[in-house]
Amino acid sequence: MAAPALKPASLVAPAAPPQGAVVTLPARKPEVRSGLMLTRAREIAVTVVPPLIVLAVIMIIWQIAFAKPGASLPAPSVIWAESKDLILQPFFNNGPQDIGLGYRILISLQRVAIGFGLAAVVGVLLGALVGQSIWATRGLDPIFQVLRTVPPLAWLPISLAAFRDANPSAIFVIFITSIWPVIINTAVGIRNIPQDYRNVAEVLRLNTVEYFFKIMVPSAAPYIFTGLRIGIGLSWLAIVAAEMLTGGVGIGFFIWDAWNSSKLSDIIVALLYIGLVGFALDRLVAFIGGLVTRGTSAQ
């Protein structure tokens, strides 16, 4: 390749006379759809298969460990034999105290919805106050920091005394358990509103209500939803414990009832339900948070 470099430029002739020619490129093969679906299936398998394998292993070990007669806990096969109606029929209704676990879960969820809903509204408002005002922070923050460490059930006797009824007491316990992370995270979110947004609000002369809904809440939304997500988890933790003590028809009382009548299989099925519902609640709040904060969190 050194030869052309030695020649004067004028002598270097192009290998072929320059001609306008249309080069036909090979047509692109259309994406194979089945291949695409195969990768999709693969992705699903990657997330679903490992937990299934682990689950199967646990079940087998459990079965082997507790299969012998006189074992303290029922093996999976025993649970299936004793409580399969609970698993297969979540929604049956045979009278006031004999209803399916699905109904019980719904009743517990209703309590959580009221308690947590109140906590969300009050928590965001209080958090906004604490985040916005230095004096509110100084006055309220130490009190919040102390109260938030009180375990959920420690509130129960006092709320029973105050409300003189099991249902509002349980709801109050949910409320008081789940409000702290909402307050604290909202306050942090409000404190982190960029000065730019505050300036925009000032130039536009937004009033307090407009500022709250148009700047504060959307800007702090990622923080607020972090608080809500922690809060819903805590309220699901608290409801089971509260219902065990207050009675009624929730899933918590079901466990207590089953314990008193030595139906260990029923308890294990109930635990499974509680876990799945708690997981679903967490994902639900995360999903809503993802939708709401689409614009904000991408910053």
Partner: protein
Amino acid sequence: MTGYLKLDHIDKSFSRGGQTTEVLSDINLVIEKGEYVSIIGHSGCGKSTLLNLIAGLTQVSAGAVLLENREVNAPGPERAVVFQNHSLLPWLTVYENVKLAVDKVFSGRKSKAERHAWILENLDLVQMGHAKDKRPNEISGGMKQRVGIARALAMEPKILLLDEPFGALDALTRAHLQDSVMDIHARLGNTMIMITHDVDEAVLLSDRIVMMTNGPSARIGDVLAVPLARPRKRLDLVSDPRYIGAREAVLRFLYERHRLIEAA
């Protein structure tokens, strides 16, 4: 109409922990309606503070800002600000960002349809009508700044305050936006005050250039009138002796008479 906006013997100092720093000292300036005034100076000279004082986002320590002979002491839409980093609300679309301002300013005066038309008109003015349903994080920096300008213009301000509006943009985008701003100024005749640290930008856009000395206690060192007819064309100006002269005057002020001495 003498003295649309008056800055009358303004001092500004900040106190923190018992220590008071004077940022601006004895600022006097009279700006006429329709004028384009740039404020230039080294960083830290308090030019942004001065703009915030006019906007009402910060309060003067002494003296007064007078707009049409009325004192300014709070922010308001008649002094709209185009912020350096656009300050669009990321959870709103481009249209909604402008709508927030329009709804607030014209809620009593324009019908819903009129407001809608006004939003679109302002977006078209900055050539952003095509992206009205996009969110800020889906458009480029130059486009965001255009929307910021549209939002400010849509408030129909008496004075448009631009805080280094092109500072964060690349050179080509910046030139493009400068032309847009010149065009808008020619069409609407707004009074505009712009903070900048770019000498060419100041000379190209301004009727007058206010040059600040270095802080602390920055003053107005000099005010240079730019004797160039409008409309101005970037390319024609390059060899114009008046342009070169004005540019040189600003450069001499900044790098000869008031060179920034780095803090030791």
